[in-house]
């Protein structure tokens, strides 16, 4: 506690939005501090777009409150909210030049012409498109259009900028480049960003905090690193980053370590996940152990490590991301294959020993499904 209250730009309390019998957004509460980059990560159909549309004002919640800087926004029309949105397909006005696209919002606020010109030139400079005022959106490249869409919103200095997977339409290389650029722009402008995506890499790279959403609810809200290292639910463990899942029954508990008996009778161990969000399994319950590909060591087991023999199915060479596909206890697993020569590539069909530090594996109660 620093004693100084952090400004909260967006506060949502128990938001609910139903479509017929389907609850798209289910009791979602969140708090976003001013100036931060907040991502909502989830598979398609998880309700993240609906949530964003509630924030923008295109849709109304069935219950719950949306507060922006302490002001209740539920009944405020989209054109009167201090919120702007970058759409998935950008929605630049095709009949207007870049300058007119940016001027549109300023004109609505009755900013005088001279001041308007100055601010347009300034924001274009900031996004790296100085002097492009007279171009038409159709004449720009994908990355440039992206920046115009951002400039069109940022010039209005919104309290909250909503971004609806705007990088989805770009090719991979440009997307990687834009991720970094978007993060830098967010820092430079100091605007609070709410970014929704189904791409976990986008969320991890850019965000200060990430909410993982599933079936209309938040499974976990945490920093990218915490999500990766301390997933709160089996869904987060499997959705964020690559992970291997081994299913079985909980055999024994020793403090925070748990032993899981796999389908073929062998037992492995890992650390029990925090019980805050997800029920802790009891002895004899079905349980799942998650272990990351980079935490698995091929061949050399150190004392205290837990081991498992597996059969090599294939070696997947992908530079620094090279992996070995193995079959262990009837399940398919991936092991990172370091390319520094420390481990020779195993033969297909051969038998290998996988070893890991139990502290790096997570054990959850299996989800009823």
């Amino acid at each position: 506690m620093t004693g100084m209250a952090v400004d909260i730009d967006l506060h949502c309390q128990d938001l609910v939005r139903r479509f017929g019998s389907h609850t798209a957004v289910n009791q979602v509460s969140l708090e976003i501090p001013a100036g931060s980059f907040f991502s909502i990560l989830g598979p398609s159909g998880c309700g993240k777009t609906t949530l964003l549309r509630l924030l923008a004002g295109f849709d109304r919640p069935d219950s719950g409150d949306i507060m922006i800087r302490g002001q209740r926004m539920n009944d405020v029309a989209p054109n009167h909210r201090p919120v702007n949105m970058v759409f998935q397909h950008l929605a630049l006005f095709p009949t207007m030049s870049v300058g007119d696209n940016i001027a549109y919002g300023l004109k609505r606020r009755k900013v005088p012409t001279a001041e308007r010109q100055r601010r347009i030139a300034e924001v274009l400079e900031q996004v790296g498109l100085a002097g492009m005022e007279t171009r038409l959106p159709q004449q720009l490249s994908g990355g440039q259009r992206q920046r115009v869409a951002l400039a069109r919103c940022l010039v209005l200095k919104p309290t909250l900028l909503l971004l609806d997977e705007p990088l989805g339409a770009l090719d991979l290389k440009l997307r990687d480049q834009m991720k970094v650029e978007l993060k830098n722009l967010q820092k430079a402008f100091g605007t609070t960003f709410v970014y929704i995506t189904h791409d976990q890499s986008e969320a991890l790279v850019m965000s200060d905090r990430v909410a993982v959403m599933r079936d209309g609810r938040f499974d976990q809200v945490a920093s990218p690193e915490a999500l990766y290292r301390e997933p709160a639910t089996p869904f987060v463990a499997s959705f964020v980053g690559d992970n291997n899942r081994l299913g079985g029954k909980l055999l024994a508990r020793d403090g925070e370590l748990a032993q899981v008996a796999l389908a073929d009778g062998r037992s492995v161990s890992g650390r029990l996940a925090d019980s805050g969000h997800h029920p802790t399994p009891k002895i004899g319950d079905r349980a799942e152990l998650f272990i990351r590909p980079e935490s698995l060591v091929l061949g050399a087991a150190e004392p205290g490590h837990c081991t498992l023999t597996a059969r090599v199915r294939a070696t997947l060479f992908d530079g620094a991301n090279s992996r070995v596909e193995v079959e262990a206890a009837g399940e398919r697993c991936y092991v990172r294959l370091p390319q520094d020569g420390s481990v020779p590539a195993p033969q297909e069909g051969s038998s290998v020993t996988l070893a890991w530090e139990p502290q790096l594996a997570r054990v959850f109660a299996a989800e009823a499904s």
């Binding site: 295109f58 029309a77 054109n79 009167h80 702007n84 949105m85 759409f87 006005f93 919002g105």
Partner: protein, 285 residues
């Protein structure tokens, strides 16, 4: 290989060329020639501009000409104002089967000929018609009301005839508009009027202009509706062309009036395209 390619190209082009030459170019060139012929006596012809001079000196001609032009423009505007909300509903609000049914409803009147449609209006509007009877039954009128044979009746009939040709291009352009464009318009601070004026109308402009061109040309060149529904004071220019050709058997004068009508419609369409900054290729393509 090359010669077969050329042959098939010519085979494909032939109907088009025949159509253009025989049905469009030839009659118009002929009409243009006839319009400049002056009949000196029963068997001698000279060339001159007498028919055109008649048009400008005889006020009845050019007054009707102007009236037809202005009323056609007015009809086009009203058709646009009525068709836009209809097209908006069909393109953006109606879903699935409702959309098909609404389109069909716009098309149904065109299963009957223009003559039958016009008589339909006459049954409703005439002195002994349905509207008149209803007004009397409600006690809003003491005696039969004649609603036919005036300019309003003519415009009602013409708007009805043009509606489909305005709705179709509007629906086509509005259907192609991304919902997000409208939402972005609101999101950046625009109200309903701003979004309509700055985003929807500019987007729909090709459809608006192409619908207006078609409706304007149809209206300007229509004959039955203005003749049947307009009174003796509601003269329409096509009626005068008909009189010259058929009643007066004055083909030279009729041809001159026909050429003038063509010039008027071309001029107004050209002006419309210039004013809205559209090109014919974009609008019709």
């Amino acid at each position: 290989m090359r010669s077969t390619g050329r042959l098939s190209l010519w085979l494909l082009l032939t109907p088009f060329v025949l159509w253009i030459v025989l049905l469009v170019l030839l009659p118009h060139v002929q009409m243009l020639r006839v319009s400049f012929q002056v009949r000196e006596s029963w068997d001698t012809l000279a060339f001159g501009v007498e028919q055109y001079r008649n048009f400008f000196t005889e006020s009845y001609y050019w007054r009707t000409f102007l009236r037809t032009g202005v009323m056609s423009l007015f009809t086009t505007l009203i058709t646009l104002l009525i068709a836009f909300p209809v097209a908006w509903y069909i393109a953006r609000l109606a879903r699935g089967r409702a959309k098909g049914w609404l389109f069909l409803a716009c098309l149904v009147p065109f299963w009957a000929s223009e003559l039958v449609r016009t008589y339909g209006w006459m049954i409703l509007l005439r002195e002994s018609g349905l509207f008149s009877a209803a007004l009397q039954a409600l006690g809003w009128a003491d005696e039969p009301v004649e609603m036919l044979y005036n300019d309003v009746a003519v415009i009602v009939g013409l708007v009805y005839n043009g509606l489909l040709f305005m709705v179709v291009p509007l629906v086509t352009t509005l259907e192609g508009m991304d919902d997000n464009l409208v939402e972005a318009g609101y999101d950046l601070g625009g109200g309903h009027v701003t979004v309509m004026r700055e985003i929807v109308v500019p987007w729909a402009m090709p459809g608006i202009v192409s619908g207006c061109i078609v409706v304007f040309m149809l209206t300007l060149g229509s004959y039955l509706t203005p003749i049947l529904m307009g009174g003796k004071d509601s003269a329409w220019f096509t009626g005068q062309i008909f009189t010259q050709f058929i009643t007066r058997f004055n083909w030279e004068q009729g041809a001159a009036l026909g050429v003038l009508l063509l010039v008027l419609s071309s001029l107004i369409v050209w002006l419309g395209l210039k004013l809205t900054g559209q090109s014919l290729r974009k609008v019709m393509g």
